[in-house]
Symmetry: C2
Subunit: 429 residues, 2 copies
Amino acid sequence: MHVMEKLRGFRDIYPEEAEPRKRIFKVAEDISERFGFSKVEFPSLELLELYKIKSGDELVNQIFSFTDRGNRSVALIPEATPSLVRMISSRKDLRMPAKWYSFQRFWRYEEPQAGRQREFYQFNADIFGVDSYQADAEIVGLAASILDDLGLRGKYIIYLNSREFMESFLSSYGISDPERAYLSIDRMKKKGEDATVDELTELGLNGNAAESLVDSIGTAYSPDDFPVSNYSIDSGGRRSLDRLLKTARLIRGYTDSDIRIDLSIVRGLSYYTGIVFEAFYKFSEFRSILGGGRYDSLSQLISGTNIPSVGFGMGDVVLEAVLKNEGIFDRDLKGPDVFVCYSSAEIFEYALKVANRLRKGGLKVSVSLSVRSISSQLKAASKGNYRYAAIIGERELNSQEVSFKELSSGTQKAIPFERIDNFQKFFDQ
Amino acid sequence: MHVMEKLRGFRDIYPEEAEPRKRIFKVAEDISERFGFSKVEFPSLELLELYKIKSGDELVNQIFSFTDRGNRSVALIPEATPSLVRMISSRKDLRMPAKWYSFQRFWRYEEPQAGRQREFYQFNADIFGVDSYQADAEIVGLAASILDDLGLRGKYIIYLNSREFMESFLSSYGISDPERAYLSIDRMKKKGEDATVDELTELGLNGNAAESLVDSIGTAYSPDDFPVSNYSIDSGGRRSLDRLLKTARLIRGYTDSDIRIDLSIVRGLSYYTGIVFEAFYKFSEFRSILGGGRYDSLSQLISGTNIPSVGFGMGDVVLEAVLKNEGIFDRDLKGPDVFVCYSSAEIFEYALKVANRLRKGGLKVSVSLSVRSISSQLKAASKGNYRYAAIIGERELNSQEVSFKELSSGTQKAIPFERIDNFQKFFDQ
């Protein structure tokens, strides 16, 4: 294999993509901070065992794992939750509830395709130490607020369900171990209702029951229209459904985007215990933009301590595709400000003084790093989309001035060095 | 091994550390942007072969490598340069010079110790496509500007040397293959001058020559005081030295921190061809904060294309230790603003409306996610270092007001809901 090859499913991200991606990271960070969430970081390598506890076979089979020099089976992290639970359980001095966010790379050995890479970023936000519908709403509300602030207000739907409710509901069909049913239901949107009926029949339901089950989870409802009385469930199931509907109503305090109750949303990971949710873009067949839920029992399994937890993860691959589809991926990009041109090597020190003075003022400033003709430097300034060129020849050096040229209009003004901090004002007049 | 164990040399970073680290990332990004550098991202896994070309045995032996499911020998990236060269060589449409920065995780299987982890972040900045002393100065100037802006102005020394000069200089001692001499010289500061004399003798120098060589590289000089005439070198060496001294003088246009010419700074990596440099903290025995140099021939070896290149890398581990030693690691940290307290579940929707309104104004706002007494919520607000509590009871709900309490002074003011965007003004009066 030639060294110039990049591994499949891994990305080289050049400036034209990396610059707009920074806005995504920044919006997710800023909104999380406003919600009182704090950043954490965790390792990219963990013991493989950490994922065997409760992440489910599908995920474990996709892990990049290897034996390290200390003969440990280690995994390139495929998801955030087990690491976060390990962290929250490792310290007894943390104030609860703890609200954490993180933004890291993850790896899964899957077939690369639209919306899926082997290496991807995921933004995660989690609330630990409180089991309440207010916390459930806050996590979904944070997710929605990030999407809204990215420019997707009204462009997505958040589908909600409750694993707790589903357990009651499935047990009313005689399904006592819902894990395998969840796997079938999770694939329903992809494989179709008929395939799900078949799979549920294989799990032991009779054909009529399987069809009735699939029928009653096939429709998504606005929270206000959910036909509660259609579902004959026990009182525990009723309480779970009440909590879900209360949560849905609270979420309206965060966003005016669409919220739906959808019993076919159960999520692929096996550690969820309460609310589960996914957000989908309305206008095209992308995978879910984000997903999450409550996983109250995972900490018990990992650390022996009980810490109620709810959170979500949002990958960069689908989100970026959605933003591109909307034409807002490179929204608010601020181009470079000033390209400093100079006429000879002797003048470079003055040119550099000008450049560094402007940089201290916060402007994005380049200076030619090789001695070229002024005209070829001006060409570079235009091609690089600089707003201004600062032109410095012997005349400017001698008079301690700088000639600024606005590249869009061609207007040029000579400005004394000591006033260049405010040179843009000369063009506003 | 128990799943609660974290791998040695890997870090869990909790909010009290993660929050101040964000400033480090942000300063490095902001200053780079002002210098006209653009962000890039590259994969965390590369073909192992990429590092066998020219990174040197020491680094290759520290790589976390494994065979993936496609039977490829892959490496968790131990450094940025080969990936960057692969990227810059892969596209023919890039405008040169290209100025790139990146901030990623890297992995090396070394013994964890002070200033060294097996997983670390490194900030990298590189200029491709121009071989000039102006470009050399710009890269060192960027490095210095980042350190200055982090609060380290005057606290560090940048040591400069030139591999091109050293080649002439060492050949004047009859050393024709300087690679092994570089390895000895690179360890001189750690092992002492005597050990270096011994090692150079083993490379074939006679004892007197080895002592003379070590003598003449043992002192660091201010660029103005460098005793040029002490070095009997060929005209190529003279030109390299001139370039280095010109570069050093230009760097003064970027920073007033100390610059030294130090011929014992040669860097451990084997791909450097021109300027090499390292920055050290003045006041304690830390490893280098950052280091870099010119590596003009690496692109030829990797891609067959010649792209002159200069850059540097700065790890997070030493930098963070230095900032902590200076007491400025958590400088400029902005605490949370408002904790919204409410008296009963019925009032939560109004409390949430208040919280989300304040959040939209950019404030960091938390709201209690479980129904507790107002006094226990106020206690949580104090412990969490919130500046204000917003207290909402039935009275406030009925009058559509919010009672804000400044926690440092205890001052409390009732403010109508429609004026809460500017509630802080009521306390400034």
